[in-house]
Assembly symmetry: C2
Homo-oligomer: 200 residues x 2
């Protein structure tokens, strides 16, 4: 069986649980503490040398890391990964946008505010991170104003990747009231067959 | 013809030039200034709403952004993208590592130190960024100590993605002398057929 090194508070880990659930693939969860240094201990570094969750151990013992690469691995050959080459590249475009522009602002603010608590180190960095998060939301709102999903006309792993931290952005203080297209899309994603919540 | 919105100082843009050159695909370059706000002007936001280079306009007028998504688009169906599903996911794993862990430290330090000059805003953030960059290099060194390339036994877009900012890391002050496996790999990448330099 698949073994997922997981974290209940990580949107990146939730992405993987969501896709595996929607694909009906059973997996074992190993909960990791992402704040106490556990992921930097030698035992875990053998699983993922980069010391981050999620990481998944496949049936043959191979370990795969990086949430969006894991999504790709399981989505290939399914309806969650487009058949068209340009659309596949667009899915990746939005997944790289998520990891470079969206996660380091929206997810980091949520983690600082809702989990670690504000500190002398993070407090001066918050305004820049918050502004960056709203810029990412602006980009998403414009894109979704004329579309139901990020790529083509169907739900894909691009939607899963961006849903994970957007739907909990309010936990970091982000106000989504001025983003009607994003809110409609969040409801559309939550209505997909086999959807599970981050707390499930 | 393909039109690349480019930047001579951007490793992300160089990745695309390098792959297109190795594939023998002709393209037109439009040089953008990444420091004076040009990429945030309305004309450019029509090309890439996220306001970043590289972005490429395909023959049919479609625009694709995010350097690693562009690499995927052109590599699919060539020797730069593996035929094996797990290896494809591993290529993406390293490309997401590059955008989340490597670029925001190594490339950002280089940009601050070599291009923008140190400022009151960036100076206090430098030590954390430098430490993060060395952690990324440690991960790469361990991986390359038993391999010639990042995935499988051949050169792929994972190597192109990681080469772009690693080979100019010294411009940000990173000392690669204690990374023999990385230095051997850099030479191996630079020796590939059709290789071009970032200054070409």
């Amino acid at each position: 069986m698949l073994t997922l090194y997981d974290s209940a508070i990580s949107g990146n880990a939730y992405k993987v649980r969501l896709l595996l659930s929607q694909l009906g693939l059973p997996f074992k969860r190993i909960e990791m503490n992402v704040d106490d240094g556990s992921t930097r201990q030698p035992d875990f570094l053998k699983v993922n040398r980069n010391g981050k969750v999620p990481a998944i151990v496949l049936e043959d013992g191979t370990c795969l890391a990086e949430s969006n690469a894991i999504l790709y691995y399981f989505a290939e050959g399914t309806a969650f990964w487009p058949q068209d080459r340009l659309q596949r590249a667009q899915v990746l475009q939005w997944m790289f946008f998520e990891q470079y522009t969206h996660e380091p602002t929206i997810a980091v603010v949520r983690h600082w505010v809702a989990h670690l608590g504000r500190t002398e180190t993070t407090e001066p960095l918050l305004p820049v991170k918050i502004a960056g998060g709203y810029r990412a939301l602006d980009v998403m709102e414009d894109h979704l104003s004329s579309r139901d999903y990020f790529v083509g006309s169907t739900y894909s792993i691009a939607d899963i990747a961006l849903y994970a931290y957007t739907h909990v952005a309010h936990e970091g203080g982000f106000d989504l009231s001025r983003y009607p297209a994003i809110r409609a899309w969040l409801a559309r994603v939550a209505g997909q067959a086999g959807h599970i919540r981050i707390t499930d």
